[in-house]
Symmetry: C2
Amino acid sequence: MNNKEFISELATRVGMTAKDTQSLANALTAEMTAQLEDGNSITIPNFGTFEVRKKLERVMVNPATGQRLLVPPRLTLAFRPAVAMKELVQKGGENTNG
Amino acid sequence: MNNKEFISELATRVGMTAKDTQSLANALTAEMTAQLEDGNSITIPNFGTFEVRKKLERVMVNPATGQRLLVPPRLTLAFRPAVAMKELVQKGGENTNG
């Protein structure tokens, strides 16, 4: 489902126009992006947690040449679904299959 | 940052009360949850994609007893950050460190 379809469903749910709903969704993702850019994690109840994780630097060896290369530390964005969310996703599949 | 702090920041950004902002954020997560429960993936531009992935069934062997156990297939929720988001998170770290 793409963004437009999602916004349309959400607009129906909240009783707002698609345009206003899109503006609010944009503000929400902008605020989340700003927090994550600052390295803050964000927890949404019953949904999950977004967090910035530091991947440590490591030495990579090219097996063909034996050359050693230092891979610098990186920051990556990780999402951990809440327990309730995990169960819902799993249950959804059980309904479909059974 | 917990949900309350996040909603407070977002309310300031959109010029709404914290209560109304919370209601809209709840509707958004409820709609996302409903879509994911149905097995639909959701793409949010410049943010990322949430998708339900099927982990195949596999045979697990208990190394102590040699007993073989069939682990059933599972549905899990995965998040892939957009390229723009990855770069912002990485850049945030560079600003902090340098």
